[in-house]
């Protein structure tokens, strides 16, 4: 029994992120493919929340994994592999957001503020679903309009649910600093969303 447990543990160890990274460093691309399949959704969700566009998010994910592969020798085991990936993703998304700021402003102006009327929501009442969709859409816009450093911490903490120490590690700051950033970002988001939806939904 104990032998079986230890062999299971060894098998788990063999497929841990760290073990796969070591094998990928040695040139085993299959190990890196496993890492990609394991973590691509995490990176994609973050990139999508940052860019709000699927193609942009996929480009970011691709670039993140290309850079990760090219810099595997720089990865140190003291941080989790996902933390390291999200750090790369944060930097890339920040750079990209700055570059595409003008393009997004233009697109939003052209698209106007139309809402999708045909919606599938979590409530049986279509009115409630519509109301929820309206709020969600407004929230997306408010989030997209936030400065990129505020957007990043909101995504990490309130959408992805990361703990403060991990956020601090991703942002390369202290835990207290991470908490402060999150607080400022939440306030900025609330201030932006109030004019859109009114105080009945998000009272000050």
């Amino acid at each position: 029994m104990s032998a079986r447990v230890s062999s299971n543990e060894r098998a788990t160890d063999n497929f841990s992120d760290e073990a796969l990274v070591i094998r990928a460093r040695a040139g085993d691309f299959a190990s890196f493919e496993i890492l990609f399949e394991r973590h691509r959704l995490l990176v994609y969700r973050f990139a999508y929340q940052m860019s709000q566009r699927r193609d942009d998010a996929e480009d970011v994910v691709q670039e993140v994994f290309v850079r990760a592969y090219q810099n595997l020798h720089r990865y140190r085991d003291e941080a989790k592999f996902t933390t390291w990936l999200l750090r790369i993703a944060t930097n890339l998304s920040t750079d990209r957001a700055r570059m595409t700021q003008r393009r997004r402003a233009l697109e939003e102006k052209e698209a106007g503020s139309g809402l999708a009327w045909m919606t599938i929501g979590e409530f049986d009442d279509p009115i409630s679903n519509l109301e929820q969709d309206r709020r969600k859409e407004a929230l997306r816009k408010a989030l997209a309009a936030l400065p990129v450093h505020h957007r990043g911490v909101i995504v990490l903490r309130d959408i992805e649910g990361k703990e403060y120490p991990e956020i601090a590690s991703i942002l390369n700051c202290t835990v207290g600093g991470a908490k402060l950033r999150v607080l400022r970002a939440r306030r900025a988001l609330r201030d932006r969303i109030l004019p859109i939806l009114g105080e009945e939904n998000y009272p000050a």
């Binding site: 691309f29 493919e33 990609f36 399949e37 691509r40 959704l41 994609y44 969700r45 999508y48 929340q49 699927r54 998010a57 996929e58 994910v61 691709q62 670039e63 994994f65 290309v66 592969y69 090219q70 929820q132 709020r135 969600k136 929230l139 997306r140 989030l143 909101i154 903490r157 309130d158 959408i159 992805e160 607080l183 939440r186 306030r187 988001l189 609330r190 969303i193 105080e199 939904n201 998000y202 009272p203 000050a204």
Partner: protein, 250 residues
């Protein structure tokens, strides 16, 4: 309780001792923030990711190829710089060779050991030259004084120049630039005997002793005539008190 703490209370689920007070005082704010939190969590739904592993593999391969190409390009960009450096080295070497061929420190370009050997050679040559000049110097000074006495009589003399040139040529070691200071006691501010021909001024000789500021006391002049002596049949010599009575030449 501060208003800012409401965010912690709602979003991070911190335990608060005065929950009842918050509910009463900030009921609407708490409800709004709870709505915000709920809506943010609903944003987790994202469209499906269609990025395939093949695409990532291609991108990695492209990146590797680009990196190798850029490395190769960087190497090629070094070629002109290397050529320029080689050219500069060649030109500087050539200039040094030209300099050394025209100066006494010719062996400068042939390396430090050659330079040291040449310096030793020049030093020993200079010592020999100084010894020779010590023996020649009295003769030269005698000649000088004789010529000077003749020059005082007002005639143009170029003997000193030619004599000095001969002495210079005979005593100076080949290729050295040693100044004949022993023969030039009257030359003021003579340069030290360490420079090459380019740095040392040409030795000034007394071309015409008529320009000499302090003429030396006149020595007796002996004139040898062609007429034979009666007893011996040899040429007759006359001692003249003043060179003004002597006519050289025809």
């Amino acid at each position: 309780m501060k208003r800012n703490d409401l965010f912690d209370y709602v979003f991070d689920g911190l335990e608060s001792s005065d929950r009842a007070e918050i509910s009463a005082e900030f009921a609407t704010e708490v409800a709004g923030l709870q709505n915000l939190k709920h809506d943010l969590q609903s944003l987790r739904e994202v469209p499906e990711c269609q990025l395939s592993v093949e695409r990532v593999r291609d991108a990695i391969l492209r990146g590797e190829m680009k990196r190798r190409t850029s490395n190769r390009r960087a190497l090629w960009s070094l070629v002109p710089a290397a050529a320029v450096a080689l050219g500069a080295l060649f030109i500087s070497t050539r200039t040094q060779n030209l300099d050394s061929s025209s100066s006494t420190s010719a062996s400068r370009s042939e390396g430090t050991s050659n330079l040291v050997a040449a310096a030793i050679g020049i030093g020993s040559g200079a010592r020999e030259a100084a010894t020779m000049l010590d023996t020649v110097a009295p003769t030269a000074s005698l000649l000088e004084s004789a010529v000077q006495s003749i020059a005082n009589s007002g005639s143009q003399v170029s003997v000193s120049k030619s004599v000095r040139r001969k002495v210079d040529r005979g005593s100076r070691p080949h290729g050295s630039s040693i100044q004949l200071t022993n023969l030039q006691p009257h030359v003021e501010n003579a340069p030290p005997p360490n420079g090459g021909p380019s740095s040392a001024p040409a030795p000034t000789t007394v071309a015409s002793t008529a320009d000499a500021p302090n003429p030396q006391p006149q020595a007796p002049v002996i004139v040898i005539t062609n007429e034979p002596a009666e007893g011996t049949g040899a040429s007759r010599a006359h001692e003249m008190e003043s060179s003004g009575n002597v006519v050289i030449g025809g």
